[in-house]
Amino acid sequence: MGVFSSQSMIQVSYLVVAFLFIVGLKRMSSPVTAASGIRWAGLGMLLATIVTLAFMGASQTNLILVVSAILIGSVLAWVTGKRVAMTDMPQMIALYNGFGGGAAAAIAAVELFRGSEHSLTHLALAVIGGFIGAVSFSGSLIAFGKLQGLITKSIRFAGQKFVNLLILIGTVGLGVVVVFGINDAPPAISLFFALALVLGVAMTLPIGGADMPVVISLYNALTGLAVAFEGFVLDNAAMIIAGTVVGSAGTLLTQLMAKAMNRSLGNVLFANFGEGSSAACAGVNGTQKAIEASDAGVMMAFSQKVIVVPGYGLAVAQAQHKVWELCQLLIERGVTVKFAIHPVAGRMPGHMNVLLAEAGVPYELIADLEEINAEFETTDVALIIGANDVVNPLARTDPSSPIFGMPSLNADKVKNVIVIKRGQGQGFSGIDNALFVLDQTRMLYGDGQAAANQLIQAVKAVE
């Protein structure tokens, strides 16, 4: 064996891995160093995998299984991750996060089925980690399905919370049975995991699509926690540290996101957002007035200040490049242009920033809600591209509206509002938008990219 046993090699390398992860995350929390942060963390992951593979000392059959499983999982994830469009990032994060939760549950299952040698504490930790991991797994898959458009309805029925509570109690009860080995029988373990998976589905199905970012972030934190618990079971310091760091960081992120939407976490999980909203809401009366792209272009070309408000529609239409091209034309004409980003514009906080960064928009033109809300009153034109709920004045004025109290962009204070929108439908939350029927608002119907193209032509035609 020499001076370094396999175990101490693994332990020392895990220390380095934990260091690399923390430095990586720290670097990822500043725009300047962010891109290098993921490489630090990636290096850590590579080191951990190689050292574990080299020193774990498994039978040959198991070693072959390990290597082939790594290859299958890596190739599948590599291909899907490279191919997916930037706009679909949120659901991919949900999907990969679910995988992590499932893996934690699988570890728990293997340890529990093997039984024996564990102390009561270890068994309890394995069961708790397995429970959280399984819920995160099935819940994340539902979140993925909803954002991908595979599941279009939020399924709700009377007494749903009661049913969910029963499932929860059943799962916890079975968990206790497993820990204390009352039957010491595999059926209890299988049933425990099955119920935990059902709970994840049942919890996530009733939650509306607009709340998915918060839910995904929550499941991300939960997966971290599950990984940490399984780390205790396996005596694996790298898993404990990385899992716990993600658990606490993820919890903080979830809170920040919920706060940006002015909702509590309990509200997101249990309030069945958007239920019967459009019927109860009396605020919106009036008709939408259309405008031609040429007129809209002239209006913008001769204004002093334009604020662009992007939303999910911009992402769907991949319009970020065309919109930036339009803005550059306006800037050349001496128009002041700014982008107003609502904290939850798109499907995730920061989603719009990523897309605008992709198009090459400089940071200093991008302002968040607090910075820019006072500027709307002195602005000539607000260009709303595929945003809806985040510019709905009902959030400030109509207490009966389900989005009442959510911070919104004051686009209704602008002299002229141009809304690029595919049709007359409602936003993701299913709520009518009072902004669209105001006197100063004109609708430019069409796909975001095509409409931006028309506006570019219109501005170019102005001499």
């Binding site: 995998t49 996060n97 089925f113 940006a260």
Partner: protein, 101 residues
């Protein structure tokens, strides 16, 4: 190897570390950071490898095999997605530098 109270110390210090690392993050980095932390819990891969490595029955091997596939998917997918996202920040920063120069 990691005893009860030591494990709790690690747990507590790691929890504070995670909180501190994230606490002053600008909104624009929320999504990449969520994605990045999603990658970091891909470390579950080493646990899944150890679990499959020590599997003694066919049932354990099947579950462990699925576990390693999922974990590798978490780690690799999390990396690719985060890297692509952050690359855009880098690209945009470079263009700005060129623009000024």
């Amino acid at each position: 190897m990691i005893d009860g109270i030591i494990a709790l110390y690690i747990f507590m210090l790691a929890a504070f570390t995670g909180y501190e690392v994230i606490s002053r993050v600008p909104v624009i980095l929320h999504t990449p950071l969520m994605s990045g932390s999603n990658f970091v819990h891909g470390i579950v891969l080493v646990g899944a490898m150890v679990a499959l490595g020590g599997a003694t029955s066919t049932l354990e091997q099947v579950i462990g095999f699925i576990g390693v596939i999922l974990a590798a998917g978490n780690a690799v997918g999390g990396y690719v997605v985060t890297e692509r996202m952050l690359q855009m920040f880098l690209a945009s920063g470079n263009r700005q530098k060129k623009g000024h120069g």
